[in-house]
């Protein structure tokens, strides 16, 4: 069922190279219902069985046939979107019914981590797509209203009916193992040593300068393009090229951390009690994933940057705004 963007990317990246070993050890990763453009240079892109739970629900018949034709003891489906879809009771029941008809036992595995890092990454993705222009600490109250960060709220529908069916892997455990091995191990299939070693590349994420540049750009765009919306046609593609340009400029090479200790403490007031209840319900223990409250904030101030960087940032903002404007026009 996924987890953070990093977790999903790690699983997706390591799966293509693990399929042979998985098959040899009795684990089927079905081709039916799978999406993704697994070219040589981009094996991991979009690797998931999301189409099974999409609106059309296509692919279940073929999946049943593929599973019946296989002698594998275990079937591994990767459906990160289940976490989101599970908010609808009807769709959740429908998916569970399909899964139960596919195998004798179903294990739902997700990876859960502390929310400060998750929100920090979420903030970065919002800044990189020009949805948000304020600093993280100024955006905290809105970010904390998002129930997707509350494990108890997000996952309870999956575990409250049948606790044995749902398994949660804490992020430190996931990070210490092969991504696919960690998921399978949580489901009771221990293959960690049998899977080929894999190096998971870091997803490009904005560093401190990149955040400042894109915060400025987000505000600038709203004047440059009247009625600008981050969901507009052409904007997503432009934001990808913005991220790529930021990478080339070296603005993704440092790790951004937008929390100040004060804001982090305030956020934990929101999450810690429910994390404790979640841990108790799932693991029968206290919450054990440490919160990086004291990690130093690396938020930069645009006007405090060195003058060559200030110059670069302003040029980036103005040229990217032109590009977004052009691509948006072309798309519409």
């Amino acid at each position: 069922m996924g987890g953070s963007r990093d977790v999903v990317a790690a699983v997706q990246h390591s799966l293509p190279g693990s399929i042979r070993a998985l098959t040899e050890h009795g684990v089927l990763v079905p081709k039916s219902g799978r999406s993704g453009n697994q070219t040589a240079g981009n094996q991991a892109a979009g690797f998931s069985h999301h189409p099974l739970v999409g609106r059309s629900g296509a692919g279940w018949g073929a999946l049943h046939a593929e599973v019946r034709a296989s002698d594998a003891e275990t079937v591994l489906l990767v459906i990160p979107s289940l976490l989101r879809i599970g908010r609808s009771t009807a769709r959740r029941v429908q998916v569970l019914r399909q899964l139960s008809s596919l195998a004798e036992a179903v294990r739902l595995v997700s990876v859960v981590g502390e929310q400060l890092s998750t929100i920090n990454d979420f903030y970065l993705s919002r800044v990189a797509t020009w949805r948000i222009s304020r600093r993280l600490d100024a955006s905290v109250s809105r970010l904390l209203d998002n129930e997707a960060f509350v494990h108890e709220t997000l996952l309870r529908p999956w575990y409250e009916q049948d606790p044995a069916r749902y398994v949660a892997v804490p992020t430190p455990v996931f990070a210490a193992h092969h991504p696919v091995g960690a998921v399978l191990s949580a489901a009771g299939v221990d293959l960690d040593g049998a899977l080929p070693r894999v190096v998971i590349p870091d997803l490009p994420k904005l560093g401190s300068v990149g955040v400042e540049a894109n915060r400025l750009l987000a505000t600038y765009l709203r004047a440059e393009i009247p009625g600008f919306r981050a969901d507009d046609e052409g904007v997503a593609a432009a934001s990808l090229s913005g991220l790529s340009r930021a990478q080339k400029l070296g603005w993704c090479s440092d790790r951004f951390w937008g929390w100040t200790p004060v804001a982090a403490e305030k956020a934990l007031d929101r999450f810690d009690a429910s994390n404790q209840r979640f841990a108790n319900a799932i693991w029968g223990t206290a919450w054990t994933v440490p919160y990086p409250v004291e990690r130093p904030c690396t938020q930069a101030e645009f006007l405090d940057l060195d003058f060559p960087v200030v110059d670069q940032v302003q040029r980036y903002v103005m040229s990217m705004a032109d590009k977004v404007s052009r691509e948006r026009k072309a798309a519409t």
């Binding site: 222009s133 600093r135 400025l216 765009l221 440059e224 006007l303 103005m318």
Partner: protein, 341 residues
């Protein structure tokens, strides 16, 4: 005996108002027996002030002073910000006392003192708009340069300890209540029979807004990146700041005055200077320090948080100035050039 009054105005402590008030009232002051240095610019007065310091018996400045003394001039008044730094040195003060003895003048040093919180805020704005700094306010206030200038007990201890040199101080609020030049003259004990000085400005200079300050820092950094300081020199580049200020006024970029302090930093600075201020006040007035530290809500600029239209205008206008200058299409002497439009 001629009295030599040295107004040791620390940089911008009086926001330039004393110099303006004095030069605008030169004729009135002459009638009252007060002689000012030749010229009307702070640079010319600075030359005179520097000539009086350093202990040399024959400089154009000491010759000028000697001539005034020989002519029976009652008061010679020199105002310059360089005096404050020079008079912080015991050697310089001793040399001044020696020169005054040789020329035969009575020396009185007048200083305008100001609570440091409001002072540093105003000084920061002045230095940013003068393209003297592009640092953040927090950095500027934490390490003001030169550090001794803001500690009056340290700055003027040497004057207080030297025989033959009197020290008097004017609290900054007095400048606002009776005019800047008038306040200095009164403190110097000059009994002026003329009516109020015509050109003496009352009230502090307006503090610029945070957006103009931010835009000027951006302009400064971009000019530095392009090596424009080396190519054109700071005084000519300041005309770009004038254009920026005009644009800020035309487009109403700012609705508040810049205030760089946050509570923690203000508290630390107030603690740092509070005891020294009390010591100084006790020595010169025999009273507690009269001016409380200023307060305010932070009014700084995070450009990304501006209204989109304002940010857009700031970035476009600054870019227009920088690119216009870089392409050579902007004439720094022509105020009407449209480089930033």
């Amino acid at each position: 005996m001629t009295r030599l009054v040295l107004h040791a105005g620390a940089e911008y402590a009086d926001e330039g108002a004393v110099h303006q008030g004095l030069t605008a009232s030169r004729a009135q002051l002459a009638k009252a027996g007060v002689l000012l240095p030749p010229g009307s610019s702070p640079v010319e007065w600075r030359d005179t002030a520097q000539g009086l310091m350093g202990g040399s018996a024959t400089t154009p400045a000491t010759d000028w002073l000697r001539a005034a003394t020989n002519a029976g001039q009652p008061v010679v008044l020199v105002s310059s910000d360089v005096l404050a730094d020079a008079l912080s040195s015991p050697e310089e003060v001793t040399a001044l006392a020696a020169v005054s003895g040789r020329v035969g003048v009575d020396v009185r040093v007048v200083v305008v003192v100001r609570e440091q919180v409001g002072y540093l805020n105003s000084l920061y704005c002045k230095r940013v708009l003068g393209l003297d700094t592009a640092r953040s306010f927090a950095e500027f206030a934490t390490e003001p340069v030169p550090a001794h200038r803001f500690d009056y007990a340290a700055s003027f201890g040497a004057v207080a300890d030297t025989d033959g040199v009197d020290l008097v101080a004017v609290p900054y609020p007095d400048l606002q209540s009776c005019g800047a030049a008038e306040a200095v003259l009164r403190a110097a004990g000059i009994d002026k029979t003329e009516p109020d000085l015509a050109g003496d400005r009352a009230g502090p200079a307006p503090v610029p807004g945070p957006v103009l300050i931010g835009a000027t820092r951006l302009l400064h950094k971009r000019l530095r990146r392009l090596g424009m300081f080396h190519e054109h020199g700071k005084p000519r580049l300041r005309t770009l700041v004038d254009r920026l200020a005009q644009r800020a006024a035309q487009r109403s970029w700012d609705t508040t005055a810049f205030w760089g302090w946050d509570a923690g930093l203000r508290r630390a600075v107030a603690e740092e200077y509070g005891a020294s201020n009390e010591l100084f006040a006790e020595f010169v007035w025999g009273t507690p320090w009269p001016e409380p530290f200023s307060t305010g809500r932070p009014q700084r600029t995070d450009l990304a948080d501006l209204e989109p239209a304002v940010l857009h205008d700031v970035l476009r206008f600054v870019d227009g100035l920088v690119e216009g200058l870089s392409r050579g299409s902007l004439d720094l002497s022509d105020q009407k050039a449209s480089g930033g439009s």
